[in-house]
């Protein structure tokens, strides 16, 4: 007798599956807040009050938006630069041989060192942070796009080539759809990294943004405030990941799904 097909979970069940770990985490934190001083584990009520305060004050919320803007600007800069470099490396092996060691060298430099260099090299806050965000994400984007280009199916490339496309049509019909899944993965990975780097950059080299606000909370030993500001960044990462997941769900519906999972 054939096994009954596995039913997908209901919306309610999926919501429970997503929320359950967070509820558990919150519960553990709340228990800790009953047993430790407030400056170590403030109650979730205090943290929530801070979060509401941030959301209800334009001055404070604009600090969140400033950080989000910096992350996105830096990532877009790194992605555009990385994609161009990857395309050159893919097309010309001499460029690949020349640039790959440089990019590897850049990857070895810690983000904090770039923060120091940026403070020395640039005067304004925004150029500093844009530079830091771009330079720390660019090598990863370059290698990820390069791998995606190299991973294109030779059979499919040959098939499209047999139709004698123009460069633009080759890009539109073959290259972009082929590398799009890898590009989304690259964004997911780099988004997480960038959200960590931006805090360091703002902590040291900015007079505003979430990183700067965290520094303020640290100076007054306000753990609830520190947590509330941190959560702003986590919310941003979660929302962006959801948006990317939604795009994946829509764009990759062509993929076959096996009933039996690994």
């Amino acid at each position: 007798m054939p096994a009954a097909a596995k039913r997908p979970p209901s919306t309610l069940m999926r919501a429970v599956q997503v929320l359950a770990p967070f509820v558990l985490l919150g519960l553990l934190w709340q228990i800790a807040s009953f047993n430790f001083p407030k400056y170590l584990f403030p109650s979730l009520v205090d943290v929530s009050a801070h979060i509401v305060g941030i959301f209800s004050s334009w001055t404070l919320f604009s600090e969140v938006l400033a950080t989000v803007g910096r992350i996105l600007a830096g990532l877009i800069g790194a992605f555009v630069g990385g994609a161009v470099i990857a395309a050159v490396m893919f097309r010309f092996s001499a460029a690949d041989r020349f640039l790959a060691p440089i990019l590897n060298f850049f990857q070895g430099i810690p983000a904090l060192s770039w923060v120091v260099f940026a403070i020395i090299w640039f005067h304004g806050t925004e150029p500093r942070i844009f530079f830091i965000m771009t330079v720390t994400s660019l090598p990863a984007f370059t290698f990820q796009v390069l791998d995606a280009l190299r991973g294109m199916s030779k059979d499919l490339v040959e098939m499209v080539m047999s139709l004698r496309p123009t460069r633009m049509k080759m890009l539109r019909a073959m290259i972009l759809p082929s590398i799009f899944p890898d590009i989304l993965t690259a964004w997911k990975v780099n988004l997480g990294n960038a959200s960590r780097v931006v805090v360091v950059a703002e902590l040291v080299g900015a007079t505003g943004g979430i990183g700067y606000e965290l520094l303020q909370q640290q100076q007054v030993f306000d753990m609830a405030g520190a947590l509330a500001w941190t959560l702003q960044l986590v919310f941003f990462v979660l929302i962006t990941q959801r948006i990317i997941a939604f795009i994946e769900q829509r764009a990759f519906r062509y993929r076959a799904v096996s009933e039996r999972v690994l």
Binding site: E158, M159, V160, M161, S162, R164, K169, A173, S178, Y254
Partner: protein
């Protein structure tokens, strides 16, 4: 070169560099000369690894000959690559459908390269899908189609561009016998009805005799060992031709 040669090879050789630097380059095609006239259905027959696919890629302009001259409709298919746009259609051994496109999207691909309007593309693609028995499957993605259906989509893609030359690289070899046989017949009819010049690569004598009106047997490295035109009735002398082909292949 004969007056009406659609495809012309003159002492063509193709070598590939060996992986090991000290080794000799691999010679896949060696001094191949042949002419294929407009409207001919030619089966290129040979054992696996005899250079049939290299010959195929030379005609398609995907690789450049190391020596000799290749001409397709009087043009160099490698150097005049873009000038032959829409004139050569290819059906590969496996379907090579773009997984992110639906069946109709895949058939429209070649028409997109020819700058056809959306309306024309849709009409042509629908016509060819229906012609190949795939009406109702226009919106299916390749993974939802069977092997035979996918190969039909790839044949529809080749015919939709209305190219005068069809290159086929063992397109039915991965299908089961019944599906392969049915598709082979349909394909041969379509080629005849549409007056195409077809070059059909195969390693099967039966397939070559069924599809080709001319059979060229190649030996390794790709060189013409036997070239025979079949009569109006393909069965005339078929047994003798089959024996001769078997002898050449066994040699």
């Amino acid at each position: 070169m004969t007056q009406d040669a659609e495809i012309h090879f003159d002492r063509v050789s193709k070598s590939f560099p060996a992986r090991d630097e000290d080794a000799e380059p691999f010679r896949a095609v060696d001094g191949l000369s042949l002419d294929i006239a407009r409207g001919e259905m030619v089966a290129l027959l040979g054992k696996t690894g005899c250079g049939k696919s290299t010959t195929f890629n030379l005609i398609a302009g995907l690789i450049e000959p190391s020596e000799g001259v290749v001409r397709v409709q009087g043009l160099d298919p490698f150097r005049d690559f873009n000038d032959l746009r829409g004139k050569i259609a290819v059906v590969f051994q496996n379907d090579r459908l773009l997984p992110w496109r639906t069946a109709i999207g895949n058939v429209e691909l070649g028409l997109e390269m020819l700058d056809k309007s959306t309306l024309v593309r849709r009409e042509m693609a629908q016509f060819w899908l229906a012609r190949l028995g795939l009406a109702g499957h226009e919106s299916d993605f390749p993974h939802a189609l069977s092997g035979g259906m996918r190969q039909r989509v790839s044949i529809a893609r080749a015919f939709a561009t209305d190219a005068s030359i069809l290159l086929c690289d063992e397109p039915f070899s991965s299908l089961d016998e019944i599906t392969g046989q049915r598709l082979r017949e349909e394909f041969a009819n379509l080629v005849r009805e549409n007056g195409k010049t077809a070059v059909f690569i195969t390693h099967s004598i039966n397939e070559a005799l069924q599809i080709g009106r001319r059979v060229i047997v190649m030996t390794r490295p790709a060189k013409v060992a036997y070239d025979v035109r079949l009569g109006a009735d393909a069965r005339t002398g078929a047994d003798e031709i089959r024996s001769r082909i078997q002898e050449v292949l066994a040699a």
